[in-house]
């Protein structure tokens, strides 16, 4: 397949999807575009992280990228980080996993149900760890920066 189908189309979809969700969370003005761009950036990182080998690792990398982006944008615009993080993470949420585990459960395929469910939880966990890592590091950095000049 070519670049258009593999990269441009999914990223454009992520962009439009996040644009819609930022309207639903009542984000106004320029913030909408920042959120939509964040969602697109996250999915681009997910796609570029294919060499990492597993989609859980890809999710982690993308979550780190999105969190970093949200932290930077929040500092620049002096707004709460959540505003950008909530919407930009949407494309990474394993919506398909929830659906397919439910479908397997409906069909009575217990083994596949458990497999899909655990995989979905793994993806959600990777997302969480990615967000946690960046947020903790930023906090650490902020408190180091706050305390160092005082000691001098």
């Amino acid at each position: 397949m070519d670049v258009l189908c593999d990269f441009v189309l999914p990223c454009a979809c992520a962009f439009v999807g996040c644009l819609g969700f930022s309207v639903l969370f009542n984000i106004r003005g320029g913030g909408i575009w920042i959120c939509a761009f964040g969602g697109m950036l996250g999915w681009l990182c997910y796609l570029l992280a294919v060499p990492l080998g597993s989609d859980i690792a890809q999710s982690f990398a993308a979550a780190v990228a999105v969190s970093l982006y949200a932290e930077i944008m929040a500092r620049i615009r002096r707004c709460p980080v959540t505003a950008y993080l909530l919407v930009a993470l949407f494309p990474l949420v394993p919506g398909g996993g929830i659906y397919y585990s439910m479908e397997h459960a409906m069909n009575g395929e217990t083994a596949q149900f458990l497999h899909t469910l655990l995989h979905t939880l793994g993806l959600a966990g990777a997302l969480a760890v990615g967000v946690l890592t960046v947020a903790s590091l930023v906090r650490l950095w902020m408190s180091v920066r706050k305390k160092l000049p005082r000691r001098r």
Partner: protein
Amino acid sequence: MELDYDALLSLSAELGFRLMESGAEIYRVEESIRRLLQAYGVDTGEVFAIPNLVIVSLTDPTGHPVTRVRRIPPHGTDIYLLEKYNALCRDLCREAPPFADAQSRLADIRAGWQTYACPARYLAYFAATAAFAVFFGGTARDALCGGLCGVSIGLCLDFMTRWDANQFFKTVAGGMVSALLALFLTFLGLGEHADRIIIGALMALVPGIAFTNAMRDIMAGDLVSGITKLGEALLIGAAIAIGTSLAMGLARLLGGAL
């Protein structure tokens, strides 16, 4: 000038209440109130917040403790209000204006509250779910169906919110309505992949916000709130699964009867 402790308490509790109601994290609410109290020169203040409660307590110079408790009703996330209240809190901490002035500025934000018009919101539901239907591998016709299912979720949620249905029941109903519509549209031949349409539409219901907020609370050390929200996220996930499986079970029964 003598500081009016009751007015300060009311102001800080009100600000905390408003922040929480627009979807702020626990640590933001607690820290905002703490900073506000310090800005007015009160060091004896204590704050405690969990997702549906804010408690502010302080001791006046005569040693008399005063406390206010605010219960927070079920609420959504409104980034516009969150940004406004956050900016206001920063201004109040810097300027420490008279209380009447601060209260009127709080009220101004509420009065100037704007949401998107109804058509814009349904258009947003349509665009978001249509885009995610394609995102999960659907075709252009799937996108159209996904968008219609997304709008049905929006209508369903708005309708049930008006009748004060709880979050769990709303999600079950939203999942069921959208999955039924998706199966029906696929049955008619308009949609091509029922699964991709449903997944796209379900993105309007997934507990992404509850999950992200839970993570941020746990990271900030607010374990009680974090675990509460994590439980909420898991419940919503289960509700989505129940709603869609109800719809699919129903469709299979009908399919067997036809």
